[in-house]
């Protein structure tokens, strides 16, 4: 299997199924792990990095659970392909941009990926559509146990798993969900999310991580505290309390809009559809914001010209690296806007 094979599919996380999938697009659980007796990557020399990379890839490819993954050596991968993996949430932007020996092992169905030599030696992540934190935790926990049979991870009784950044020590767990919140956005109640997430000290970001705009009404919520709480406790507070509350806010905002302003709401959705079917140039941000309205229309049962599967496919296909991979060459910004508009016309009017 290669990166090119991924182009023809969408990952499990974009299937649009699972609990609360009308609001929760996807969930992810990630563990940070480092080898004992080795420097972290922050102070490792180039040759130490290569040595660590060789050791880890060897062990990962002989592990009974991870041997099915296919390995991508990111040092040998061009920029468009690296960006392509970022768009599919299989590697981080940081890992794409970094230099030196690094890579990722990807499960063919894209539910699991092990980043090697990111900020930590290993970042094991599982990713699924809808709110499925329990399942994800079981998956990464099992994989972590299995890898621990072959690899010894740095650990301290008091501080737990040791990581390059002191903000990740303890469980080393990062739980995050991607939420679609057009209702709260339209009714200007997005501050409710801030209030709901404050008590548990959760971070809220835009689609592409820290400091980015909430393009397409997509918000990523993740835990920040990793020490002093067990994995189960973090998952329970997160998936059992905070997220269902935000989902309730969003659902009730949508209901209010539908009750009070049904014509404006439909106009919103149908105008977005009109633009998507006829525009000749579209930026990523504009396309994502129009697609957000369609998604809301589909989820509310007010729009049926496009199904959710097609919508999720185009969601990936219109992103810069995906467009360039389909085109088979690199495209400048203007060419991408044209290709994006054309892709949307093709897919949405079929």
């Amino acid at each position: 299997m290669t990166i090119d094979d991924l182009t023809h599919n969408i990952g499990e996380w974009l299937r649009g199924v699972g609990p609360m999938c009308d609001v929760v697009i996807s969930s992810r659980v990630r563990l940070a792990r480092n080898l004992v007796g080795q420097p972290f990557l922050s102070s490792a020399s180039a040759s130490e990095k290569t040595e660590i990379y060789r050791h880890l890839t060897h062990e990962i490819s002989s592990n009974e659970l991870s041997q099915h993954g296919f390995l991508v050596d990111l040092e040998d991968t061009d920029e468009i392909d690296r960006q392509f993996l970022v768009e599919r949430h299989l590697i981080s932007r940081q890992q794409a941009a970094e230099e030196g020996s690094r890579g990722v092992s990807i499960w063919p169905d894209e539910t699991t990926a092990i980043m090697i030599n990111e900020e930590d030696h290993l970042r094991v992540q599982a990713l699924r559509s809808g709110l499925q934190l329990e399942t994800l935790w079981q998956e990464v926990n099992k994989l972590d146990d299995s890898l621990s049979q072959q690899l010894e991870f740095a650990f301290d009784r008091q501080l737990g798993y040791l990581t390059a950044c002191p903000t990740n020590i303890g469980t080393g767990i990062r739980v995050s969900v991607m939420l679609h919140l057009p209702g709260l956005k339209l009714s200007r109640e997005i501050e409710k999310v801030s209030r709901a997430t404050r008590d548990m000290n959760l971070a809220v970001r835009g689609l592409y991580g820290e400091g980015t705009e909430a393009v397409g009404d997509l918000y990523q919520v993740s835990n920040q505290t990793t020490l002093g709480k067990s994995e189960e406790q973090i998952l329970e507070e997160f998936g059992g309390k905070v997220i269902p509350k935000v989902v309730e806010y969003e659902r009730s905002a949508r209901e209010t809009l539908a009750g009070k302003h049904p014509h404006q709401l439909d106009d919103h959705i149908w105008r977005a559809y009109g633009l998507l079917c006829h525009a000749r140039c579209l930026s990523t941000a504009e396309a994502l914001s129009l697609l957000s309205h369609l998604r809301m229309g589909i989820q509310m049962g007010r729009f049926d010209k496009v199904d959710i599967k097609t919508l999720n496919e185009v969601f990936l296909l219109i992103q810069p690296a995906h467009l360039q991979k389909v085109a088979g060459r690199s495209l400048n910004g203007v060419a991408r806007s044209i290709a994006r508009a054309s892709c949307l016309r093709d897919r949405l009017t079929a």
């Binding site: 922050s42 301290d156 501080l159 971070a203």
Partner: protein, 163 residues
């Protein structure tokens, strides 16, 4: 060219957006107004990254008394301030006192792990602390030009690393 926020007409516009509804138009807003509209998300509480940055800045102003490197990886407090990352697992022991206030702030006052423990925990910890002790001994031996002792310690390190 500097725009003023089209909403409040007071602050500098730093967020530039293109609306598609009710008509296609560009708007220029300040951060606060953009956050109010939900265009950008501004968290009401501090992010852990902000805590880390503040800690680094504050500690730089104080200047650390000692700049002894970690015997295991060579990291100094100064290196940590530059990157916000420590250099190896043992840095947490070597710079324990220095890092403790940061760890407590970043983790809502917590200072003790209560989650998963790997099956190999005891062996791992013995290895970690053993390596740290031996590297210190190695450094001492070299400083004292006791090369016989240094060679002996080096062999022990190798044995422990491959154990």
């Amino acid at each position: 060219m500097h725009f003023l926020c089209q909403n409040c007409n007071e602050a500098k516009a730093t967020v530039h957006i293109t609306d598609t509804y009710p008509e296609k138009r560009s708007r220029h807003l300040c951060e606060e107004c953009a956050a109010k509209e939900g265009v950008i998300f501004k968290q009401s509480h501090e992010t852990t990254q902000e805590i880390l940055q503040q800690f680094i800045k504050h500690k730089i102003a104080q200047r650390p008394e000692s700049d002894e490197p970690c015997p295991q990886c060579g990291m100094t407090v100064r290196d940590f301030q530059a990157k916000g990352l420590v250099g190896c697992p043992d840095c947490y022991t070597v710079f324990g006192e220095f890092l403790a206030p940061l760890i407590e702030r970043a983790h809502e006052g917590a200072n003790r792990h209560v989650g998963k423990v790997p099956v190999t925990a005891d062996r791992t910890i013995r290895k970690q602390t053993g390596l740290l002790r031996l590297k210190r001994e190695l450094k001492d031996a070299i400083e004292k030009e006791n090369y016989e002792e240094a060679a002996r310690v080096r062999d022990q390190i190798k044995a422990l690393e491959t154990a």
